[in-house]
Symmetry: C2
Subunit: 536 residues, 2 copies
């Protein structure tokens, strides 16, 4: 069964939030316990129900209904403000630290990933509206979004474009104070559902005669229901049949002169969208960690109960049984330790990012965002797979619960910008663009030991040697991201007094050496990659 790791959470809160103007530490800890209890006792049992029942799409009404239990849970989340702890109190948010927000989000997503995705997206939408929307839009939409009465969606992708948004065709024609928007959007998470009274779609579109590529894109607020209560002309045309997250609708949305209101300036859509996307990307990293944590709990429980073979260490043999719990076997320990130590490190990384969000060190947050989205989701899914492996046949059948975590979690490596895109974002927009200044500020704050500093410098040297060759830089990017992720996490956990020494030693001896592999790939692996005949 899933049990939230409250001791780790409390350590991170103490370390990275401390007493806060809106919440003192004791209040935050009470809050954590309440959310933990809710996630364990209410959300977790709904997770399998969601997988088996899934959503129901009604084509004649263009509507989607989610499982009944989800409505009750969503109401509890909203009534208790579980997902708005860090939002502006002016709109009903808690005004608390981001560290607290990330920890709560992790627990909710461990309990039920599909359901937790809905408020995660709403949060991102609120962030960009607060930063960019007109006062009138703010007044109408933000408070009900913060309370969960309305939810938010992000409408970027079209059939011909996902990664490359410059190819967007959706058209926004000005009319009176608003625009009429026509086009098709696909892969829209929670783009249609019956959890909230209204859905606030944030839609990328081009105004007539806008320039090509991304500089012609604007952002529009397109509500499912108009302020007068009438249905807007944005309808769900179908839902995807996915590997997992069966209870989280992924909608096709058809807009046929739907009414939309401009958010921010015309042709500044990408900038505004990134203000939604960046917190959502951190949120996706949190989702990855959340499934990895739930998988760890399942695997640890299994390893503590299943008896199979004798311990190789005579002292560990339990004479009351004909076999020992499998937790005594070295390979089982190995698998659990990989999961436990990397979960610990990733959680630390996310809390550390939350700290910089709270301190308004936005360049460091921007740098950490693609690392969290990409590294955390990838390592987390590896961890879920390891947990499945540890559980043997039980890991592969539905009764074991772990296989659902894999299927549900796998999308985190893909949505909100694939992990490959994150690596390009890191190396292009976050490192090269300011000549590594943000990275230097981060390292100054982290105080890495000499060997880690040397490692990062070696990686950077290869980058600098290839500034004239963007293909090589792009080929290097994924290994560079992982090298940086592990180095940062290594600094964080070795400086953490709360972490067990054996956990630190394991991380140092078993995980940290991965960085050498990535350095090899950075230094040598790119040219053969680009030269392969078959792909020229």
């Amino acid at each position: 069964m899933y049990k939230p790791p409250l001791a780790d959470y409390q350590n991170l809160l103490t370390q990275y939030a401390g007493d806060h103007k809106e919440y003192d530490l004791a209040t935050m800890q009470q809050f954590l316990q309440a959310v933990g209890k809710f996630s364990q006792e209410r959300l977790w049992p709904t997770n399998k129900i969601g997988d088996q029942e899934g959503i129901i799409y009604n084509p004649s009404e263009h509507s989607v209904s989610v499982p009944k239990d989800f409505h009750e849970c969503y109401k509890i989340i909203c009534d208790n403000g579980y997902t708005s702890t860090a939002l502006d109190p002016k709109y009903g948010g808690g005004g608390g630290p981001w560290v607290l927000h990330h920890i709560i989000s992790e627990m909710l997503a461990s309990g039920n990933l599909s359901l937790s995705t809905c408020p995660m997206l709403t949060n991102g939408a609120v962030t960009t509206l607060i930063a960019n929307a007109s006062d009138s839009l703010k007044e109408q939409y933000i408070e009900p979004m913060v309370s969960g009465k309305f939810s938010g969606s992000m409408c970027l992708t079209e059939p011909q474009c996902g990664t490359d948004l410059g190819l967007i065709k959706t058209l926004a024609e000005p009319k009176d104070d608003h625009y009429l928007i026509t086009g098709q959007k696909i892969w829209i998470t929670f783009g249609e559902h019956d959890l909230s009274d209204n859905i606030v779609h944030l839609v990328l579109a081009k105004t007539p005669n806008a320039p090509d590529a991304t500089k012609g894109i604007s952002l529009f607020l397109v509500p499912k229901y108009l302020p007068d209560g009438n249905r807007n002309l944005v309808f769900c045309g179908g839902v995807e049949h996915k590997m997992g997250q069966h209870a989280s609708p992924t909608a096709v949305l058809n807009l046929d002169k739907a009414q939309g209101w401009l958010v921010g300036e015309e042709r500044h859509g990408m900038k505004c969208m990134f203000e939604m996307m960046n917190p959502a990307r951190i949120g996706v990293g949190v989702q990855g960690l959340a499934v990895s944590e739930a998988a760890y709990q399942l695997a640890f429980d299994f390893a503590s109960q299943r008896r199979q073979s004798r311990s190789l260490d005579p002292k560990q043999q339990d004479q009351g049984h004909t076999a020992d719990i499998i937790l005594v076997h070295p390979d089982i320990k190995r698998m659990l330790l990989i999961i436990e130590s990397t979960n610990y490190a990733m959680r630390h990384l996310i809390a550390y990012c939350g700290y910089h969000q709270d301190q308004n060190n936005l360049d460091i947050v921007d740098l950490l965002t693609p690392i969290i989205k990409s590294y955390v989701t990838e390592q987390s899914l590896d961890n879920v797979s390891l947990a499945m492996q540890l559980m043997g046949g039980m890991g592969y059948v539905q009764d074991g619960l772990c296989e659902q975590l894999y299927r549900d979690g796998r999308i985190t490596m893909i949505y909100e910008g694939t992990n490959g895109i994150q690596a390009l974002d890191l190396i292009g927009r976050k490192i090269a663009k300011d000549q590594g200044k943000s990275l230097m500020r981060l390292l100054k704050h982290l105080k890495p030991p000499k060997d880690i500093e040397a490692l990062i410098n070696q990686a950077n040297t290869t980058l600098l040697q290839n500034t004239q060759n963007p293909s090589i830089i792009a080929a290097i990017a994924p290994s560079y991201l992982k090298l940086l992720a592990i180095s940062i996490q290594y600094c964080l956990i070795t400086q953490d007094n709360h972490a067990a020494d054996s956990l630190k030693t394991f991380y140092t001896d078993y995980i940290l050496p991965e960085t050498k592999l990535y350095l090899d790939q950075i230094q040598k692996g790119s040219s053969s990659l680009l030269d392969h005949q078959k792909y020229l």
Copy 2:
């Protein structure tokens, strides 16, 4: 769409089979083309049907039916002897080389993994019956099994034991010329189905007063239908609901004084079972590679068609379109090259094992078996995940076909002995037991370059230093297996004139450095692993 890589296959046949007493090279190549066409055109379309329809269990009849299309395909496989090419001609087999068999098996499993599992198990059962059964049993059962009229199953696991078969409770009481067998077996792949006229279960059980642990185990042949045509008392009590392989039944079998005949000597059951398990373990490695190959084909097709963003290299920009095919992007090349180069290397490893099977170099085959089962399935599933990643959202939805390959293939890392067990088998039964002599013979044959030899020696030194501490040896085992796998594959592909130079260079620069990580883990990672407080 799946297209078999016939050029690679032909290269391996030429290299490792040559002209053979039963088949000359030209005949084998014709055979390959026929199987390839069948797999691509007939099997592949049934794969999704199998996933969606699944098997149907009828509790009142204790019966399982597989999708209708599977019956037709199974008949073609049997009528053409596709799965019996390497079996003894005395019983209707083709008597051909194992290299040919592995290549055909790969194609069949790429086309439809669930269906291909049935003849794979039958093959394993035939192997142990030929080696161990009485003449009377051979006469009754082997020919119809070789032809596919009867299928085989392997009944090892019980609720309280999978890995640790010493805990088996199923009882075999002698009666006349046979035994009456009572107990419950679980996780029995194709333990019940309607593809063949009869199912020959090979069942591990203990005779009365047999000693504890595995030395008390005997092997029995328990047919679903008795020689007189009556139903034997072995009934399917249910089927598992799995992550994938929905069309491959995983049965609970209840035996209630079912009639069984001893195979081999009493209390020699484990030895006989391993004669079934070893070819099946190689077969599972082939299954892993098969899904990785199918995934590669899907990803390559996707990358060659999907247009998104401009190439960073102006020479590669296609002016006829507003975006380039994603195959031009370095990160896409990187993902494809990891899959392509490791698939190539793994296929080579399996063919090389087939060569030693044909040469009757059984110690080398025994050594390679756990490496193939474990390394190939793990790398293959990583590859399927990479293919899914490359395909973005399409990788995650059912229409993209790739997610099914992941779900279906994931069990290969678990069944026929989990990958952790393979590592212990390698290091304990295959290396330590003969003081590394088989490994030395293998290396002599492989002729590794000096640096690879030094690497393997370093790993062996750590093993030798810890012979008195089995826990450390066990902790080291998984990294040791991977180090050896990559080293062997590196030797094989760098010496292969057929492989593209850029593929070899990529493997050398990007994949081979993994061995250094594994060496680090071998040398440093085991003590902290064993010392972690939480798991003591």
